[in-house]
Assembly symmetry: C2
Homo-oligomer: 357 residues x 2
Amino acid sequence: MSDMLAPGAVIGILGGGQLGRMLSVAAARLGFTTHIYEPGANPPAGQVADRVTTAAYDDEAALRAFADSVDVITYEFENIPTEALDLLEAHRPIRPGREALRVSQDRLTEKSFLRDLGLNTAPFADVTDLDSLKAAIDAIGTPAILKTRRFGYDGKGQARLRAPEDAEAALADMAGAPAILEGFVEFSHEVSIIAARGLDGQVACFDPGENVHRDGILHTTTVPARLSPSQRTDAVLLAANILNALDYVGVMGVELFVTPQGLIVNEIAPRVHNSGHWTQNGCAVDQFEQHIRAVAGWPLGDGRRHVDVVMENLIGDDMERVPDLARQSDVAIHLYGKAEVKAGRKMGHFNRIIRDR
Amino acid sequence: MSDMLAPGAVIGILGGGQLGRMLSVAAARLGFTTHIYEPGANPPAGQVADRVTTAAYDDEAALRAFADSVDVITYEFENIPTEALDLLEAHRPIRPGREALRVSQDRLTEKSFLRDLGLNTAPFADVTDLDSLKAAIDAIGTPAILKTRRFGYDGKGQARLRAPEDAEAALADMAGAPAILEGFVEFSHEVSIIAARGLDGQVACFDPGENVHRDGILHTTTVPARLSPSQRTDAVLLAANILNALDYVGVMGVELFVTPQGLIVNEIAPRVHNSGHWTQNGCAVDQFEQHIRAVAGWPLGDGRRHVDVVMENLIGDDMERVPDLARQSDVAIHLYGKAEVKAGRKMGHFNRIIRDR
């Protein structure tokens, strides 16, 4: 493959959090060095990267110097300002590409995109004011959930409507931001599929994992997920459908609700995903290396799992569990090097290898 | 365990090669940052370390500043100058400790130490000049191998004697360095055991691996090794014997010859070891993390293997195999980020996961 970046090339990563950190380690494993671009000081990814630029996303000189110093640019989060992307893209390829970012940066665009692909989503409607919210409630019913169209993650920027009377309070929570009303879906459990697409269009999926959330944040992912063979096939096909439609290059996380009527797409994330961390201890090529392989034009790993895994996040004070976890067999601890423990902050995770099922 | 270094602490690593690199990644996984001390410019470990000092081992100011910046000091190679160790040890703990370095820096001291522990070694004799070499040949016979007592690795500083007449030429190869004559051992195969001992004296061993060398350099390690249950027990017991005798803290590689008369200790290395690289893809806690756990006063991982693995080194031009290896299932590639490919240079390795045996 002539498009393969050779070892020694530099991967630029926008964002210096734990995902950038684990991408950086994976890139090093393939002989690449990494350059992290992050506005915040002392980013976790910087501890394992060759180079760090601390600068804002509107610092044009810093962006330009960053782009000039790398061979390809990727990112650990989807909410990168458009102007920064425009400037960077003029210098170096950005992978995954702009279309994936455009779609996933806006919940309304994303849901419409998925529906237009023929995939099932929760019922949704555009909300710009109280009138459109009331119309949306009439169409979708309650309970429902109002979400900002942009910049939401881990349950932030969301308000639940138990009944139509909650409309005004929920709208106030949006603080004037454009929003989307989503109906609730009756589902038995949530799974996610971590899918990758190479520069040559090849698609590879890891085994779907089953997710449990607590307080709106991922708590555990268990692999294998409870899925019938046909559900498993559906999950792979719909993920491939999404990636192909976006001419996607890299790893994407696709969250799915499992219902008696089939799989419903909850959301997509154009990046490595918390629910794919189990691959670090379950596969020869983990999601981070898979992403780096894709953006570097390498062949993808095949995603085969050689052991069952339960991943559990360490949030805030869960860090106090680390000494006990370190004593347990078959537990692989992954900490993020964050200086300060805060409530609700993802501090690390661990993968428990399951031998006897 | 009150001796446990908390995440956020700094591990100092002497040596910036591939072992320091993989130690650095393992330390980051436990939330530590690393500071590499290395005389050579642009060390591979520096690409994934928080901090690098480029300075010689006789630069007292640099050594002092390095020691002051870290919480504990470890190393990736055993031939660190004594004066540097003296200075560093006055500031911070060095783990594994000085006794292990004293013993392993000198082949004669090492062999004597092992014999005094009641372990089997190849026959050996001190060689200081032609007379003592001739006496050694009389006692040990030929074929035999003459080795410098210090600074030998990967077959360097060695000369074979096929017959007594080779004595003078072999001695000339030593270039005046103190040497040791070792007799050949009839063995069926070589195995190595990667053993660890914690700050609390706990010992844990990984499963022994079977080694094949080419041109004096490790070629492959296969796990599990061909060993009877009693040989396996012997290997663990003798490794524990060595570690306990040295009040050792950290990971040690112990190379063993398998003979009909039992196991013979070939050599010990007071550090992580090339023959332990398979643990990266076979165990929840690999040898690098195991070493960091020990030097940081953490509980050891138990070393259990969840899958069979064959590790193969990528030497020099083997780098050309990488694109093909990247296409193969169940192959985990680990490259070292070395800028220049040289004949005989270790550029990386790969672990092949074996499912059906």
